[in-house]
């Protein structure tokens, strides 16, 4: 069974763009964070609401 309606023209676009775009060094860490005590993009659902509070308290 196929999941999602991924179309052939979308896959063709991906293939073409992959050939014409180069990659850059990746930076992991704070610049990637949506949460300021988790280093990544936390979606753990632990209930602490820490991700929600990210970058919005003026720190």
């Amino acid at each position: 069974m196929k999941l999602f309606n991924l179309k052939d023209d979308e896959l063709l676009f991906l293939k073409q763009e992959l050939a014409s775009n180069t990659t850059m060094p990746r930076e992991f860490g704070k610049s990637n964070a949506s949460c300021q005590h988790c280093e990544s993009v936390c979606q753990s659902g632990c209930g602490a609401n820490c991700t929600d509070a990210a970058s919005s308290h003026g720190h």
Binding site: M1, K2, L3, F4, N5, L6, D8, E10, L11, F13, L14, E17, L18, N21, T22, T23, M24, R26, F28, G29, K30, S31, N32, A33, S34, C35, Q36, H37, C38, E39, S40, V41, C42, Q43, S44, G45, C46, G47, A48, N49, C50, T51, D52, A53, S55, S56, H57, G58, H59
Partner: protein
């Protein structure tokens, strides 16, 4: 350590006035934290001189102890200027806010934030969270803290309505942080089909409404999808390092999942050693995940892993399948945005297109699913 915010979480009470269908706190009691313990923990944290401290009131339901929250906040605001230094935060079900409490919160909204849990439409909220929708003033929360997202947990009974619930909350003005509840068995074909259909609907909504920030369930950073098994995963969560949690007696844990309120039975002999590991630098990669394309961004929860498997690193396999489907949806969604806009922004960050395309490509192949026995009947392309 980088200069990330430090969070200290205080469990003010183990009691809660709701009984949500997915609640992981199976051993709630009437235990409460005393004022002396709360003051001591906060005093020590603030005396360390950190410049970004979040003091997080948790429960149970912390608004059962609103008087203590108010007294604590007002005491420390009088003693230490909170400006650019610390903030109070309460995770709440939102049902206990009287007009007097709302007034106090409005007056202090800059230095006291609330994060509301609300599970989609009112009907979804009522199914998951004890028929509580009528007791919650959504407008108060979005008006008081407009940048604060709302936490929407998805249970099996609300799974067929993820898109409708998320869109409902967006239309109320919220950013939406949605997640699949822990501790449930999601491993059947019906769940797989339903969540993929729901995420497809949600993608369509965001593509039609580009000014709305997509919910967290469609915001995995595709830049970090990779088939390269040499790249070392980052520590996913800051529990134990940037976050410390205290139970009602003042005992410290890396996060609230490790507290007795979540446990039944005897803790393993390695419990104390595991708590120390969480304070260190180990990335805690589950060997099972070594070759997984999404291991760098998979939202694993060390606390829940410990509750479910006895090992903070060992992933609860129940969520693997749906997380893979979520990743496939994020990849397709990212591809469609790049195709339409020529650029991609995730969580406010512009993603280099080449990196994003590499990540998308690592997931959008049928091997991503066929490597998992439970997903072998499903594919992403013809």
């Amino acid at each position: 350590m980088s200069n990330l915010r430090k969070t200290i979480m205080l469990t003010l009470t183990e009691a809660c006035n709701l009984n949500c269908v997915y609640c992981y706190e199976h051993n709630k009691t009437s235990k409460e934290m005393s004022k002396d313990i709360a003051f001591k923990i906060i005093e020590e944290a603030l005396q360390k001189g950190d410049t970004a401290v979040e003091i997080n009131f948790h429960g149970g339901e912390p608004f059962l102890k609103f008087d203590l929250m108010r007294e604590t906040a007002e005491y420390f605001w009088g003693k230490y200027n909170p400006e650019n230094r610390y903030v109070f935060f309460a995770s709440t079900n939102g049902t206990l806010l009287t007009e007097e409490i709302k007034k106090w919160l409005s007056d202090h909204k800059k230095h006291f934030w609330c994060g509301l849990s609300f599970d989609g439409t009112e009907a979804m909220q009522n199914k998951n969270r004890s028929n509580s929708a009528d007791n919650i003033d959504l407008n108060f929360f979005v008006k008081t803290w407009p940048k604060q997202g709302i936490k929407m947990t998805v249970s099996r009974i609300t799974l067929p309505d993820i898109a409708e619930g998320t869109i409902f909350l967006h239309k109320k003005g919220f950013q939406v942080n949605n997640n699949l509840a822990y501790g449930l068995d999601w491993n059947d074909d019906a769940c797989i089909k339903i969540i993929s259909e729901q995420l497809e609907k949600l993608m369509d909504f965001y593509l039609d409404n580009p000014d709305i920030t997509p919910a967290s369930i469609l915001s995995l950073n595709v830049e970090w999808f990779t088939r390269d098994d040499k790249e070392k995963p980052h520590r996913f969560c800051g529990a134990g390092r940037y976050m410390r949690c205290f139970d009602t007696a003042g005992k410290e844990y890396p996060c609230h999942f490790f507290m007795d309120i979540n446990w039944s039975g005897k803790k393993s002999e390695s419990f104390d050693a595991d708590m120390e590991i969480l304070k260190g630098e180990d990335c805690l990669l589950d060997p099972f995940c070594k070759n997984c394309e999404i291991k760098l961004v998979c939202p694993t929860c060390y606390g829940y892993n410990f509750v479910a498997t006895g090992d903070p690193a060992k992933r609860d396999r129940n969520l693997c399948i749906l997380t893979k489907i979520q990743a496939a949806a994020c990849a397709i969604f990212a591809l469609r945005r790049i195709k339409r806009d020529g650029k991609l922004t995730i969580n406010g960050k512009d993603i280099p297109i080449g990196n994003a395309l590499q990540g998308i490509n690592s997931v959008l192949n049928n091997e991503f699913f066929s490597n998992d026995e439970r997903l072998k009947n499903f594919k992403l392309m013809n």
